[in-house]
């Protein structure tokens, strides 16, 4: 059994109430932080812990905090990004539903560390139950004196608000989230200036993922050094992985970073293998926007070393043979899944969710979606595959926000690794409508020797 930090008490009945949460050691971190530590010390602890942003980019949280500008007389804000809408990711929703106080406790400590007097939790609009849960939890915490004026008699004031979003994926991008929070259209801002300099209402702002903020609680309780001992290399601590797809036991798992991918998929402690005794064909390791990998590259690097669940290990091999940690939305595909259909589905999502601000993403996502629809439905031609490659290359890196990249990568990686499946759809249009391409050679184990990958 690996260590659980966030989900330790997840199965305790009534953990969503303040009373039970408190019995299980909740709000210790607030007491410790507010009474014995200075804000600078907390930032230092988080820096020492090596905690990396859990929302997708994996930027070190402590570093992000230390970049926050601190001009005199200007308010600072902490915004929690709970606009979790990436297909395949549902860890934050799970956390907020079951242990809302973990997030609130993390918010109090983090806000204190950043000197924020008002903090927001921006929750995705579709998550109405979670919004109610959080509001109830905040009311409980406020009644018990953990929020509001003069918390624990330390003279620190904090107001915490829950803001429902309008239901747009793009509002998970931090600057779009801030625009939306200000009541405007959720268009990403052009950086610089970064939110740490001019964010919400033009004031210095830190935007953090739900899980990152919740992870501050064990860091303060046990100390940053202790947290840094868990995990491997620069990927420290534990990470929530939302596993979905053709798995025996899909769900949210807390893993110690550095767990082998093979163990995560096949061990009974975690996903328990592929459902219905089928074979693994491909995985998307970190939510829909990271590159998709065939089974053999998921389990091993191109040189045959086992791949681990960590930021570095998943991205080993770059775009050619690697993927990314992303937000931890692990999707497994068995041998009966069609990668072309899946790619089409993903690009349909990005087409729908593009904000329409900058041209490559606005027009390009729609174009990719149409070409993929054509191929998937048996009307494609060989040039279409090259065309798709060309379109994704023109989107990637040329947009204001990372949504363009997120839309381009799944298409790029699907063509890179599953090109023969695309070509099969084109060569056998009638067949492709009734049956699947199958597992082909995607699960052929990689021998432990240097293998030259195509492209």
């Amino acid at each position: 059994m690996s260590r659980k930090l966030l989900l330790e008490h997840i199965n305790v009945p009534g953990i969503n109430t303040l009373e039970v949460y408190r019995q299980k050691g909740g709000y210790r971190a607030v007491e410790k932080a507010l009474k014995t530590l200075t804000p600078e010390e907390i930032v230092e602890e988080v820096k020492k812990s090596g905690l990396r942003g859990r929302g997708g980019a994996g930027f070190p949280t402590g570093m992000k905090w230390s970049f926050l500008a601190k001009p005199e007389g200007v308010a600072r804000y902490l915004v929690c990004n709970a606009d979790e809408s990436e297909p395949g990711t549902f860890k934050d929703r799970y956390l907020m539903t079951h242990i809302p106080h973990a997030l609130i406790e993390g918010m109090i400590v983090s806000s204190f560390a950043l000197g924020a007097k008002v903090s927001y939790i921006y929750v995705r609009g579709e998550m109405m139950p979670q919004i109610r849960i959080l509001e109830k939890a905040i009311a409980e915490a406020k009644a018990a004196g953990w929020l509001g004026k003069n918390i624990l008699g330390t003279g620190y004031d904090l107001e915490l608000y829950v803001q429902p979003g309008g239901g747009a994926y793009i509002c998970g991008e931090e600057t779009a989230l801030l625009e939306s929070l200000e009541g405007k259209r959720g268009n990403p801002r052009i950086k610089p200036p970064f939110p740490a300099i001019a964010g919400l209402y033009g004031c210095p702002t830190v935007v953090n993922n739900v899980e990152s903020i919740a992870a501050v609680v064990p860091i303060i309780n046990d100390g940053g050094d202790e947290y840094a001992k868990i995990g491997i290399g620069r990927s420290t601590g534990t990470k929530l992985i939302s596993a979905s797809g053709n798995l025996v036991k899909p769900g949210v798992y807390e893993i110690e970073l550095g767990l082998p991918v093979e163990e995560f998929i096949y061990s009974d402690e975690y996903c328990g293998g592929i459902a219905n005794g089928k074979r693994l064909k491909a995985t998307v390791a970190g939510g829909s926007s990271v590159p998709i990998l065939p089974a053999n590259l998921t389990l091993k690097y191109a040189n045959g070393e086992p791949r681990l669940m960590s930021y570095e290990s998943l991205s080993e091999g770059g775009f050619a043979t690697g993927t990314m940690m992303g937000s931890g939305g692990f999707i497994a595909f068995d041998e009966d899944q069609c990668i072309v259909r899946n790619t089409w589905n993903f690009s349909r999502f990005y087409h729908h969710e593009s904000c329409g601000q900058c041209s490559p993403c606005r027009e390009g996502t729609g174009w990719m979606e149409k070409v993929l629809h054509k191929i998937e439905h048996g009307h494609g031609s060989m040039e279409d595959v090259d065309l798709l490659w060309d379109i994704q290359r023109k989107i990637e890196g040329n947009t204001i926000c990372p949504l363009g990249d997120a839309a381009a990568w799944p298409v790029a990686s699907a063509i890179r690794h599953f090109r023969d499946e695309f070509e099969w759809h084109i060569k056998e249009p009638a067949k492709s409508q009734t049956q699947n391409y199958g597992i082909a050679n995607y699960a052929v184990p990689i021998e432990k020797e240097p293998v030259t990958e195509e492209k």
């Binding site: 041209s359 996502t365 149409k370």
Partner: protein, 336 residues
Amino acid sequence: MSDKVKVTIDGITVEVDNGTTILNAARQIGGDIVPPAMCYYSKLEGSGGKCRTCIVKVTKGSEKDPRPMPKLVASCRTTVMDGMEVLNITSPEVLEARAGVVEILLINHPLDCPVCDQAGECDLQNLGYEHGLQKTRYEFERRTFDRIDIGDKIQLHMNRCILCYRCVFTADQITNKRVHGILNRGDHSEISTYIQQAVDSDFSGNVIDVCPVGALTDKTFRFKNRVWFTKPVDAHRNCDHEKCNGKVTLWYKGEDVLRVTARKDQFGEVEEFICNTCRFDKKATSDWTIEHPTHIDDTSVIASNHYETLKPLPVIKPNAALQAANEIELHKTVKY
């Protein structure tokens, strides 16, 4: 840091004020190295960064931090640093990316230039000639919208819109109240007013001038004439509107003033915004004091019929050496 910084664009070094964007630094140099800008408008605060046609490559960040920038950057929103080195037309990567942006901008554009009033003075048309492919690879139905009248003087033809947001910024910043914005998202987004309310403001006509394409057109001029048959003349009048200085360009066809626009500089940006009275209501020569023919520094067809340059256009003869040098470009129709 001193007030002046040095920046090198395509090998040409220029000294500019601190805080200048790369695009404006390039405009100070002028010529071919100025990146095209479809959405940036120097008179509108916050504009730019959206169309991505002005992307450039920064090969050296600054004197202090010489690392290159990892991605191509939008030159209209990136400020120069001392010692920065930028590649625009000398970088094949930039030209390719720009051609990609142009292609992408055109996939949902109706390409109805033969019936579009903007043809001849259209930024997208110029850009398409310069960077576009001769054939589209887009084989699907283009998105379409109905034409909307916003007010009795302006028509919105959303099909042609490239969502540069210039008119939104104009409505926000030049006029008193916010009259229109963007509805929906992605490639369904459209410029619109709230529940089709008419745009009603003294300066609303300026959205026509800032529009880089033919999405917002002057209803008093629609289908009257092609712009290259009209003769532009600078004129002024004493406008009693407090914010309008009455300096305009009149577009003549014979004796008639077909339309009135604000004066535009060499980058296609208006010098001063003008009021609706000057634009729509004063269409008689007697209303105006004529100054001189407008200097048109435009490479498009609009300059060809201009009497400022009385030299006839050179007859184009095939030049074998030139064709050999440009073989790749000429073969773009068949391959690429």
